[in-house]
């Protein structure tokens, strides 16, 4: 039952914001199941594959919304390379130090988004 709830909430979040929902799935899986943390991140990626595919299809059929395949490739293909690098790093080093760097990057992005 908790897994069904996690799926529903993550799916809503995913389509509303154009994200995968992993920011909810990973901590909720760790809280609600006995799955170890790194397994939670791997399992989350697999679940997000289904979520994002459903979201892409539903948005593609939505009038007035464009899924831009060229731009998706422009950011998504470098990201596939980054994901391979990220999983490799995750197996070898603590990611604590990297968290702070990403926090700073996201804080900068948020400020840029909120500028008029």
């Amino acid at each position: 039952m908790p897994l069904v709830l996690i799926g529903l909430v993550a799916g809503l979040f995913s389509a509303l914001f154009g994200v995968g929902g992993g920011i909810l799935i990973v901590p909720l899986l760790i809280l609600a199941t006995e799955i170890p943390a790194r397994c939670a991140t791997g399992t989350s990626l697999a679940a997000i594959g289904i979520t994002a595919l459903a979201g892409t299809i539903l948005y593609a059929f939505e009038g007035g919304v464009d899924v831009d395949v060229g731009y998706a490739a422009l950011v998504g293909l470098p990201a596939a390379v980054g994901a391979v690098a990220g999983t490799t790093i995750q197996q070898r080093v603590p990611v604590r130090a990297l968290s702070l760097g990403f926090a700073a990057l996201l804080a900068g992005v948020a400020v840029w988004l909120l500028l008029p």
Partner: protein
């Protein structure tokens, strides 16, 4: 569109992939701003971000599967039930104004930044060997 904008989008894409591999997310939190920077509107950026997530999580899942870190039964259950939530999310997102959606998204980005900063201060659950 300038070469600098394209280079920034590629770099943000790569950073999104690193986030995905490290934290088990899709990377949309960086795809959406990158796509906004390329000139897409909020809703188009979100829809396009979902497509960009696919190669990212396919590569990430492929790697994590080799490390034995994917619980397939759980992933399929969460993934397939998420489709119902996705349907609701599409309805809500298309009903909101793009300006409000963009502000909500900015709040989300700030929240994730705070979450990561807080996590950096905790004994990490994702440490090597954990």
């Amino acid at each position: 569109m300038s070469a600098g904008t394209v280079a920034a989008a590629i770099l943000l894409g790569f950073a999104a992939g690193l986030l995905a591999g490290l934290f088990g997310v899709g990377g949309g939190i960086l795809f959406v701003p990158a796509l906004l920077g390329l000139g897409l509107g909020q809703l188009d950026a979100e829809a396009t971000s979902l497509l960009a997530i696919l190669p990212t999580v396919i590569a990430g899942t492929w790697r994590q599967r080799r490390y034995g870190n994917v619980r397939w039964r759980v992933a399929l259950l969460v993934g397939f039930t998420s489709i119902l939530g996705v349907q609701a999310g599409v309805v809500i997102a298309t009903a909101l104004s793009e300006d409000l959606l963009r502000r909500l998204f900015a709040v989300l980005v700030l929240g994730v930044a705070a979450h990561l900063a807080w996590r950096a201060r905790q004994p990490t659950p994702y440490a090597a060997g954990a």
